[in-house]
Amino acid sequence: MDVLRNKARDLLAQGQVQVVIGYEAGTSGARRPSFARSEADAARLMWDADCVGNLAGYLTRPEIKKMGKAAIVANAATLRALLQLTAEHQLAEGAVLALVVTEEGAVLELSNAQAVTEQVATLPSSLSAADREKLERLMALSREERRAFWEQELQRCVKCYACRSSCPMCYCGSCTMDCNRPQWVPVASHELGNLEYHTVRAMHLAGRCVQCGECGRACPVGIPIHLLTCYAEESVRRQFGQPAGTSATLNYALGNFRPDDQESFIR
């Protein structure tokens, strides 16, 4: 942890970056995002197994962009999101310095997309074992049981958009949900509005989701909505073999095709 704090302090002191985005101790015992802009701030930074949040979403915020060049303390999910954001032209190549704390406690500086890409290639699958198991358990249910499950869960949604706000890939300034000419998806958080919202979100993340699970963690009422985007992404990987968050070059599965894409349902 000291290595990280020292590194952050040095980067800030030498003016290499103007902000280090990382984690600090939160009031509830968990970790929360932290923005170190001075050497003193750097002492607040933390690194441990509880640093699970995906911080990449902050990189596309105007408030943060205004600060200047950023370094970001990056866990696996953050690294993947960095790549995907670069691929989607939201971050300029080399605009962000990723700081990765190794198991040995050393701090790696990944200054360009290639370095991040190589680091990501060494990581295990982006879908956590727990989430994979949940997906499998749901798929083992009958269609009606799955319907009942999602109906129960989604009716609890209050459309606070914590899922959207916490998602690094939901950087759109004007979401489909905000489009009112026409009003594609009802604003209301009634059952239809909720079903449509979460379907749209999952579809829009298919081929783009880095499976960090941030949306599920963010949900105040505890709906496991990340399972929807994770599933959509798994579907893309399974059918087209194009995983999101592995390359800084755009390879959007739904913006491409192969003439021999195999489906089984078109009559």
């Binding site: 269609r143 909720n194 449509e196 379907t199 599933y231 893309v236 059918q239 095709f257 009559r267």
Partner: protein, 146 residues
């Protein structure tokens, strides 16, 4: 239509160049099919946003048909290939969310397949009539409003 027979409401999204023209050919050939379907003409299946399908159900459709040019025959060379990928994911996701995919029919109907269109519409209509109203979805329309 007899009162006691359920008449499904069917919305069809078709491309202008193949299926719309194919349905025109059905007409020119004077082939008959059941009148439950309402066709919405779009330039290409590539234009079929999955949200259109969603909205059709939100409007109380009991079934939706999406149809365009066969692979390799797209007027725009590849719009249907893009559409196909999108449907492959949409289909899969809808399964995962437990939605009734028997309600959606994807098909390729060319401008020359007037007969196929008639058969398709008749089969879909009969099937939906068997399935009955899509209450599972229609229940949602006013659920959650106090």
């Amino acid at each position: 239509m007899a009162d006691d027979v359920f008449e499904p409401k069917i919305t069809a999204f078709v491309c202008n160049w193949c299926t719309y023209a194919g349905a025109d050919l059905t007409g020119t050939s004077r082939l008959k099919y059941q009148s439950n379907v309402r066709i919405i003409r779009l330039p290409c299946t590539g234009r079929v946003d999955f949200m259109l399908i969603q909205k059709a159900f939100a409007r109380g459709s009991d079934g939706v048909i999406v149809s365009g040019c066969h692979p390799n025959d797209c007027h725009y060379t590849s719009g249907n290939y893009h559409a196909r990928r999108r449907w492959m994911v949409f289909n899969d996701l809808m399964e995962f969310m437990g939605l009734d995919m028997r309600r959606i029919t994807f098909s390729w109907v060319s401008a020359a397949e007037g007969a196929k269109w008639a058969t398709l519409v008749n089969e879909v209509t009969d099937h939906l009539r068997e399935l009955g109203p899509y209450t599972e979805y229609q229940r949602l329309l006013n659920a959650g409003v106090a």
